[in-house]
Symmetry: D2
Subunit: 304 residues, 4 copies
């Protein structure tokens, strides 16, 4: 269970104090505010604050594009138009602040998205808790044989047992020694900023992460994708649900144009045109490499 009774009490207290505001308010999001949604074995995602809604995206777009946009199009149509034509600035007018608890190796991937504001728990100042990510049996995969950065079949039997034992035992032992080293009972006690180096990358950390909607959608496109590592993807998928309730028009457009869509190269478009004219197009006469052709077949669903 990812939350202590004290944390649950804090969240309940936050949720019990409605305020009056004149700001744009997204009712779908208010229902989620502060609630910690569990992810992995000890992690969570919760919305701490947000700014704007679907209407705020349109409001900003209409400042740019003037009166024409007001009469002709409804909000959803305008948002779809903006998404389709890669207009990014109106989506930047919405902002979200999340509190996330996550394993350090996931945090290291996540932080590569630089266009966000972050305040992370500091292990220089404070003592980390004894909480480590241990994969569930259905997330314990072998190295992929095809893809250098992918996973293959599930590990089974003794091998799976041994891996889980190593992960658990090493984490516990490293944490025992971390505690022993920083203890000041009967000794000086090692500086926290040094002791933390003994902790493995499956230990949990937490941070406040604030990002605008445009950059959040970019993050979700990459991290909710099937090629993303499972342990970050589950966070992205949880965030997707929150965004769907926050800005439903923008989220649907994102699903259609980004998540479910595909970028075709000039060569690939040419192949599509030839195929639609009835030509037999194969990898050999496509102008694509084998790898590209395989991806292309995946996108158009085969031409057989």
């Amino acid at each position: 269970m990812p939350l202590t009774p004290q944390q649950i009490a804090e969240i309940d207290a936050q949720r019990a104090q409605p305020q009056t505001t004149l700001r744009a308010t997204a009712h779908g999001m208010e229902a989620h505010l502060y609630t910690a949604y569990p992810v992995l074995d000890h992690g969570f995602v919760r919305v701490v604050d947000y700014m704007g809604d679907d209407a705020a995206i349109c409001q900003a777009a209409r400042v740019s594009y003037g009166k024409g946009t007001k009469s002709v199009q409804n909000d959803e149509g305008l948002i779809r138009y903006l998404m389709r034509h890669w207009h990014s600035t109106p989506f930047e007018m919405c902002e979200i602040k999340l509190h996330v608890k996550l394993p350090v190796f996931v945090a290291r991937q996540w932080i590569r998205h630089r266009t966000a504001n972050v305040n992370e728990y500091s292990a220089r100042y404070s003592i980390l808790d004894r909480e480590f990510y241990i994969p569930a049996p259905d997330a314990l995969n072998a190295q992929s044989q095809v893809n250098n950065q992918g996973r293959g079949d599930l590990l089974e039997g003794e091998e799976a047992d041994r891996v889980l034992k190593y992960l658990r035992d090493d984490a516990m032992r490293c944490y025992d020694h971390y505690e022993e080293m920083i203890s000041d009972e009967g000794q000086q006690g090692l500086a926290r900023e040094l002791a933390r180096m003994n902790l493995p990358a499956n230990i949990y950390t937490q941070w406040y992460w604030k990002v605008d909607l445009h950059n959040l959608l970019h993050f979700l496109r990459l991290r909710a994708d099937s090629h993303a590592q499972y342990e970050i993807r589950v966070y992205a998928e949880e965030i997707c649900k929150l965004v769907a309730d926050w800005v439903p028009f923008a989220y649907r457009a994102f699903e259609d144009y980004r998540m479910g869509g595909a970028q075709l190269s000039a060569t690939a478009l040419d192949c599509v045109r030839r195929m639609l004219k009835g030509e037999e197009v194969t990898q050999e006469n496509s102008g694509m490499s084998k790898g590209e052709w395989r991806e292309f077949e995946g996108v158009i669903g085969g031409n057989s």
Copy 2:
């Protein structure tokens, strides 16, 4: 008067619809929300949305620095500490969205601050209004004789009259021709994206500008400074008043450490130490250039 009756009606409508929210709410800011505060002859600044408050800054800092910060220090003390030690990320946890109407030459200075989100009125899509900044008599200065980028005494008499006449007449004539060129009565009508090039830089534009508190304070430090051009400074000063009501602890710390403070060089600090020991320090034995010494004397109030 900067606002049309229609705009005033819209603002009144926005202000008349309070919502219930669970988000952090800054009561000092709610009172300003949507109200357009006049700046220059046709410009304004108004807050369209905001996220966070003083408590949100502390909340983020405490995620980083852990339990210690909770007991020892009150919120204002913590915020002063963060400001003094150049901690920027907790201030990034607050965000503000402004609607600003401003002359194009001011917009061109403003946009140099890149760490913000902007949606500007597009003169490619839409037709600009006939509104130009004409300086008031007490803002019509001569070129400074000392400072390449500064202003000297006020212009007077015939010279002032002639300048104002040029600014007004040229603006009107250029706008007349702009209207004539884009008109499609009895002619094709020039493309708006071309016609706009005939408009001088004192025409008004408007934008939505969204920025986090850290970057906003950086903007204010540079643009509310006495060396900033008057026409952007008046916007910065108006925003300062809004920030003071939004995050009063952060704003007071900003005034003390940034606006009212000064950066002393190693050489200048050495001079201060020598002077405090009773030594007679002059420009000649200070190790500073004449320009630096003049600035130094300004900061410490003279050593006579």
Copy 3:
């Protein structure tokens, strides 16, 4: 002619001083260095410095992805893979610094790309030259009837003459008054930071603009596109030629995957799949709006 004899002499001097360096050197770019390529009637683009080459992109990618990438793929294949899969960081490892002279209304579009470093000529400090963009007859278009932000047919006859006369005369008159206002002969002379407001948006400015290759390609995708305004597109096209000689592998991949490619939505991909199976797909049964269908037909070359 966009360059003064003095500027040409400076460029010749810069080109005459080869240095020895151990840095990665792109021979295709060395041939362009410092040369000012004319754009529009008084503008230019010239490369002032660059960092990295195609090999530097691969080098950075191989730091990330390790030994596997070294053996299997050649440099061009790796670059194509990176571009296809939206890997942005290796392209960020190359940097370019341009000196650009351009009309103010073009600069205002350009600066919206915030992920670059800019030093612009300051009209607060210095006096602008009497140089204005006046469109050539084949760039003098009417407002588009279909597209709010587009151009239609060329203006002709008297209308074209009148537009050109307005643009020329207003520019000259505004500049005459600018000069008169700042003159200190027999008067105080208006501050430059004020006088500049009288100058129309077709006056030329100049800046140093430094950007990494990833962000440059993003800029080029939007601004070398047929929907971009002609006056910025000609700059983008000139820069495309320089990039093609600087990082030829990256540029070819960019042309194939970005400039010549297209993003298809989930709905559009579904239509392609249905059409390839022989189904008759029309706008009515496509699930797309009329606007989207029109764009889709443009991409796949029509299904008639």
Copy 4:
């Protein structure tokens, strides 16, 4: 020793191939190019590429501020002026690319500086080496009693021995199990992206890090500071030496105005003025908190 014979051979090869270029070339930097300077027990810093020099900073400033800057001031004076008045854009015109090998817990601090380009070795794709940071005896400190994020006295005797034993043994055991888990001999072999989670934060990683000079100096001000953690400070200090040879004017100005200087608050400036007038100022009548007064005394060297 941080470098393998193979790496040394590569560096020698890179250093043996001088090219001819027309670009600005910093001779002080050419001498460092590619050389790996050792940091900590297995880390290093080496310059892989750079763009610009002191003259490039001035060149960009002169584009902005025009002809005036050319005659009056020499390059060093101009650079000092720019630094003193917080002009950031001319310093952004220089860029540096470093290859750094560093422990993961140092990398986690470093990456918080978001305004840089990074390509890190990927433990999803590749196998990490068995290299861990083990502090030297003179860097093995106790937790500070005064400062939550600082270090106190050196650990001694048995306590020091036990800490070093824990750090070494846990690292070796975790790495042994990492190797065992990913091995595909007689088993499937755990996916690398999972196995890496067993590795403690003192394991070494490496990256290419590219940043402009303005942001680099900001990084150095914070990380070469005496309050920075020792393990990142030694990297910053090594980089300082490289920058001093690359842009000597800018580096000297940085030392005087940033590293050796101090920001005084309005309250502190007022105290200085009162003290210079002969007034007895104490913490009680200073308007400062005890903490601020202690820092103030440190800056001005005490008033006793």
